[in-house]
Structures are given as C-alpha cells and as structure tokens.
C-alpha cells in the first residue's frame, strides 16, 4: 500500500508569562499540534497537558482564567495579537500566527495570563449598580418600564465586566483616577430602571466625585473594543448630560 504522508499542521504561540505579581514578565514560545475548530482556550489546555516549549525544554504550565466558554462571563479576557478580547471566542483558524498572548496589563497580573479585575467590581459597588428593593415589608410591584426603553437598556445589561474597555482606554492607567467606561454604562442602566431611578442622584454624585466620570477623554476606543457591542460612548455622553444637569440643579437648589 502506498504510504501517504500528511504534513502535520501545528500552531505557534508566543506567550508573555509572569511567575508572581511583582516579578518580571518573560516570553515563551510553544508549538502545539493543530486540531480543527480550536480556540485559544483549547490550545492553552493542550499546553497544560504537555507543557513543553518549542525548543523541547519542559516548562511550567501556562495559567489562565476561564469559566463559561461562550463569551458571557468575561473571565478569559486577555490581549490576543495586540487586541484585548475573550480567549474563548478567539478561534485559531481566524488568528494570524504566531499567536501572541499577553495579560491585560491595565489590571494587576496575578500570574501569566491571570489578572485581578477587583477595580471593576469595586467600581460597581461604588456606583451602587443594583436596584435596592430590600425592606421590612413587601413593597409591592414596581412601576413598569417602557418597551422602547427596555430595548436599549437590555443592550447595556449585556456587560460582563470583562475589562476589555478599560484595557483599550488610554485614560485608565496608574496616573489617572478614571472609573472606566463599564461602570458608567451600568449607572445609565440602573438609572433607566423605573425603580433604580429612585437612587439616580446617589449614583450620579459618585460619578461626579474624584475617580468618577471626569477622566473620560473621548478617545472612544471602548465602544470599538467592547465584545458585546455595548454603546459605551453613548452611555458616557448620556451620563455627561445627566451629571451636567445635576450639577446645575445642585447649584441652583432646584
């Protein structure tokens, strides 16, 4: 029987690694066998199974964060070929090789590709991105939301706190106190809700204090980077309008 030799396809990775939060990052190159329909997560799993660099030397398995694997949890965000995005929806067939993986350095790096997104969750706590309905008695049903409003508010609710907008923003850095686009859009979402609206001023005042909305420089990278297509710059402009109005109301005592 004639022997057929099929060229074994492989995938090349250059991964920026870091052992400890305060240690120096370094790069390692990997070459792993190709399988159809792979994504960056399944490729990282392959490296985890056989942590050998392309020069044949063994190394420690690469660490990463992931959960849902369907782009709704935001945990696997990393910088892939220079752009922040989710590793689960980064399909190998659509990526240029070698595939460069880096952590999102806007956030503290825990290890390799794992980052700490605490600042985002703290921002949501600061702006009270929830609807307070707890009480000592049944408050009854709240007011209804207009359908047209519900439709755009639903888009805002798709935010998964993944951090891609903060990573792409030139004003989210250690010299700037900007809260970031995600939390501002959530203020718009909860202020749009008929019950959430009752705490509107409180949320606006938080954004009008230090480390609020003031740091936005209108680079509009966030809206281009958002994997969920959330109209972040519209949210920021709408909240600019609301905070401006609130500022004048405060001054005039209206």
């Amino acid at each position: 029987m004639a022997e057929t030799t099929v060229a074994k396809k492989s995938i090349k990775f250059v991964i920026t690694r870091q052992d400890k939060p305060d240690s120096q990052p370094y790069k390692e190159t990997f070459e792993i066998p190709y399988r159809p329909n792979m994504n960056v997560i399944s490729a990282l799993m392959e490296i985890q199974r056989n942590p050998v660099k392309d020069d044949g030397n063994k190394t420690s398995p690469v660490c990463w964060d992931s959960n849902c694997l369907e782009e709704v949890c935001g945990a696997c965000s990393m910088v892939i070929n220079g752009k922040p995005r989710q590793a689960c929806t980064a399909l190998i067939d659509k990526l240029e090789q070698p595939i460069r993986l880096e952590p999102m350095r806007t956030f503290p790096v825990v290890r390799d590709l794992v980052i700490n997104r605490d600042r985002m969750f703290n921002a949501l706590k600061r702006v009270k991105a929830w609807i307070p309905i707890d009480g000592t008695y049944d408050l009854g049903p709240g007011p209804r939301m207009k359908e047209t409003k519900r439709q755009w508010a639903y888009e805002l609710s798709k935010c998964m706190t993944c951090g891609v907008c903060l990573e792409s923003c030139p004003n989210v850095n250690e010299r700037n106190t900007f809260i970031g686009p995600a939390a501002i859009s959530q203020v718009r979402l909860f202020n749009a809700h008929p019950t959430g609206e009752m705490n509107m001023e409180e949320r606006l005042e938080t954004l009008m204090s230090d480390g609020g909305i003031e740091g936005c420089g209108n680079s509009q990278n966030c809206v281009r980077a958002c994997p969920k297509g959330i109209p972040l710059t519209t949210s920021i402009a709408a909240i600019n309008k609301d905070t401006t109005k609130h500022m004048f109301k405060q001054w005039l005592g209206m």
Binding site: G217, N218, R224, I236, A237, A238
Partner: protein, 223 residues
Amino acid sequence: MKGNSYLSRKLHSLLGVIPLSLFIITHALTNFSAVEGGSERFKAAVGFINGLPLVNVLELFGIFIPLIFHGVYGLYIAYQSNLNTGQFSYGRNWAFALQRISGVITFIFVFWHVYQTRFQVAIGGITHDQLGMTMHNIATNPLFFTLYVIGVLASTFHFANGMWAFLVSWGITVSPRAQRVSSYIWMVVFVLVSAMFLMSLSAFRGDEFKEAAAALDAIRTIV
C-alpha cells in the same frame, strides 16, 4: 490637583469655549483684516480692539487668567493620558492623541507668540501700530514662519477638536450620529479657521508691512 476633579475638568472644558474659543475666532478675524485691507486695515483692527472700554480688565479676565488655567490644567490632563494609537489606530483615538499633542504645542507656541508681540508692547519695545511690522519680520524669517504655521495648525486643531469634545463632555451631542455630524462640522471649522490664519500669515509677508516699518523707522530717526 486638590479639590473635586469633576469641577476642575468641567471648568477646564468650559473655559476652552468661553472665552478661549471666542478669542481664537476674534483673533482670526482681526488678522484677516491684513488680508482684506493690508497694513492700514490691520492697524485699524488692532486699534479697534485696543480701544475697547476696560481693555486691560477684559484682557486679564477674558484671556490671561482663563488661558493660564486651561493651559496648566491641560498639561496635567495630558500627563494623565497614555497614547495607544499604535495598538488602537482608530480615527477618534488619533484625535484624542493629537488633542494632547496639539495642546502641548499650543501651550509653547502661545507663550512664545505672546512674548514676541503683546509682551514687547507691554515693555514698550514696540507700539500697537508696529505690530504689523513685527509680524512682517516674523513671517519673512523662514524658521519663524515654519514654526508659526505649525503653531497655528496645532492651535486651530486643538480649538476645533476641543469644541467637539466639549459638546460630548457636557452631554449635548449624545448619539453616535450627533457626534459624527458634529465631527464633520468642526473639521470644516478647522479648515476654514486654519486657512484664515495662514492667509493672514502670508499677507504679513507683503512689502506694505515692511514699508510701514521702514516709514516708522524713518520717523523714528528724524525724531
């Protein structure tokens, strides 16, 4: 910066429009008199501005104090920003980066330009009537002319793009469409105002400004 940074940013943004944007338009119009009517019209325009009542008060509170706050706080804002156009080369991100770069250039240019003109008047080196001559000397120096063209383009871009950003930051243009239309309008304003400044700058190269200078020198030597 101490105090509430929201209010500082809002003040910085407002001063960019009132009075600084109004000032830059007034300045472009005054200069343009040199294109329309040459040396005499320019002298008359300068004379009109300096004949305004309380001109020193207007200058201090309408120009110098707002300019210093906007400039110094603006440098702080520029310091707080990263430039990531290499990674995200979108038009608006370029405008964001250029807004900061042009701001720094404008800061230096305005400082130098005020030194060459208003400051010389203040220390008595020249009179208001000799400003045309001063500009003639600047505009005919190839190095100064090039630096002035760069300074004028930077200032005008900073003004036009700053107006776009002001409308967003105060929540006037909210929807993507409004912001897009606004960006077209301010781009046209940038081209028109730059053209006015550059035409004036080349008008100052004309011989009549030199002759005026020579005549004045002649009078001086006689006196």
